[in-house]
Amino acid sequence: MKILACLDGTNAEAMGHAARMFAGAQPLTIGLLTVMDVGPRKAIDRTRERFWRPPMHRQPVIQEMLAAEKEACQDILKAGLERLPEAESLLRQGYPELELVNAAADWKADVILICPRAEYGAPPSLGPHSVGHVARFVLDHAPCPVMLVRPPAGELFPIKG
């Protein structure tokens, strides 16, 4: 069984727990995937276009931006590997939502593990807006079953009608 765990920089522990639920499956291959998001760089390029400037790739600062992104991604994968040392790490570049489903197809994943959205210290939330656009896209377009790994939110229950 091939499990693809999507890391967003805030969910290494949750992914570790979720992946271990499949420990009984043999043979088991776990892939840790993170994506270098090109969205912000493209947004900067579009702003540059508005100010009649050439795209970022001709600027020296792009090297610094790429180096910082790469370092951050390696840290994210490292944190994942600390929880799942047997896993293989995958790094892709592009729009996260597209790269996640394409990587799952390329890697022939049997299950995708994904969190609803990156959590930066805010308490967990439930409801229609609790799934971010990346996870929503993956749920809509995944080539295999998807397991949505929610943070524990027992204190929010019971939900009243």
Binding site: E49, F51, Y95, P96, Y120, A122
Partner: protein
């Protein structure tokens, strides 16, 4: 050509307005990936070749706006040289140090930093230079990038009317409708502070979940990493400490602001060359030369259209829409400029509005000032509506979504749609109250 052949006034008007319209549409859709500069200069060249504007008139129009051209040159060179000195990197690191490891406080500091840079260097420096620096900083600090990225790109436009030099659009408008500094500040300072507060509050609300956390100060770059050459950095700080009050003094005495910008850039360049921190070629690369062709082309095209009386009609329409009240003037000026700026970019819109406002010269001072302030306000702030790109980009993103291929780009667009109308409305009301 038609200067040498008899052509009725109607035909001249039809031809000129068709070429003017095609130029604006060309800028909007950019066929065959032509850039705006080629399209604007092409429109001007066709008008000149057909004799629909006299070469002497075109030359006079360009000569009259020398202050605008020089200001663009000085402003871009000044920002590029300050960047070379490491000023923006140093300021960004200081913003992070003062945040005390709090993501929310860093967000506030980025807003304040963007405001100060826009005020002194213009929106160009914040949008183009500060944004990638902040991007690298927050990536290193392992913070979510988007809130900070939007903070930079939005504040570049939101803080654009703190001072006349905060956006070149203000220089374009004030070249035709000069406002004494006290009047400028009376009309636009409070509205600017109001929209900055709205921008900050809405962004805090939108990104409250991403800004909850803290960052590890060990990931923060040191100040010495930001400053690559101490003596040039200190020299640059000294020059800028002179330039900032000089801008205010020049505005107060209606001295050409371009002279201050160019003199500041020349001093920074001299220091950069002396310490071998830059070369003339390197500095020239920091200047967007195509903008000069674009502005020159637009000035000529709009002048030709103005001669047909069409822009006066647009001005009369605005005056009619205002209902002859100062509130109507502010509202019509703001909405007209803001919508136009999202269709054809803010520079051509400012040039068109400048020409149209010729017909409000004889209105009451409150209506005239209302239109002038609203034009600067709408053209400065309007681009925030589609801040990530032109209308064409947004249409492309909408088409992708229709094809069920959802990409993050539209989420970028949503932010502008949420916050900009609110800021335009609140700012317009405040301008009216300040009239």
């Amino acid at each position: 050509m038609f200067l040498f052949f008899p052509l009725s006034e109607l035909w001249r008007t039809l031809l000129t307005s068709t070429i003017g319209l095609l130029t604006l549409v060309g800028i909007m859709v950019r066929p065959f990936r032509w850039n705006e500069s080629q399209i604007a200069m092409g429109g001007a060249a066709v008008l000149l070749l057909l004799g629909l504007i006299r070469p002497g008139d075109a030359a006079l129009t360009l000569a009259r706006d020398w202050n605008t051209f020089l200001f663009f040159l000085g402003m871009m060179a000044l920002s590029a040289l300050a960047e070379t000195a490491g000023l923006f990197d140093w300021l960004a690191v200081q913003a992070a140090r003062l945040a005390g490891a709090s993501a929310a406080r860093l967000f506030l500091n980025v807003f304040i930093l963007g405001t100060l840079i826009t005020m002194i260097f213009s929106n160009d420096a914040t949008a183009l230079i500060l944004t990638p620096i902040v991007y690298v900083l927050v990536t290193k600090l392992r913070l979510p990038v988007l809130p900070y990225l939007f903070a930079c790109t939005f504040i570049a436009d939101t803080a654009s009317f703190l001072l006349p030099i905060s956006n070149p659009i203000n220089i374009i408008v004030m070249s035709r409708f000069p406002l004494p500094l006290p009047t400028f500040l009376r009309l636009l300072l409070l509205p600017c502070l109001v929209v900055i507060a709205i921008n900050l509050a809405v962004f805090y609300l939108l990104y409250r979940k991403q800004l909850k956390g803290s960052f590890n100060i060990n990931h923060m770059p040191t100040l010495s990493q930001a400053v690559k050459h101490g003596p040039y950095f200190r020299y640059a700080l000294g020059v800028l400490a002179l330039v900032a009050p000089s801008y205010v003094l020049a505005s107060a005495f209606q001295f050409p602001l371009s002279m201050v910008a160019v003199a500041g850039a020349a001093l920074l360049l001299a220091g950069g060359l002396g310490w071998k921190r830059t070369t003339l070629l390197e500095t020239c690369k920091g200047v967007s030369w195509s903008i000069f062709g674009f502005i020159a082309g637009m000035f000529v095209v709009v002048r030709a259209v103005e001669d047909t009386g069409l822009t006066v009609k647009l001005g009369n329409l605005l005056l009619h829409l205002s209902g002859g009240t100062s509130f109507g003037a502010v509202l019509a000026g703001t909405l007209g400029s803001a919508l136009g700026t999202n269709l054809i970019n803010n520079v051509p819109m400012a040039v068109v509005m400048n020409s149209a406002l010729g017909s409000v010269q004889h209105a009451t001072p409150a209506i005239r000032n209302g239109f002038v302030a609203a034009t600067m306000f709408g053209c400065d702030l309007g681009p925030n509506l589609t801040t990530v790109g032109s209308l064409a980009t947004i249409l492309w993103l909408l088409i992708l979504r229709q094809r069920k291929l959802e990409v993050s780009g539209l989420d970028y667009f949503k932010v502008g749609v949420i916050v900009t109308p609110l800021m335009l409305l609140a700012g317009a009301c405040t301008i009216w109250l300040c009239l």
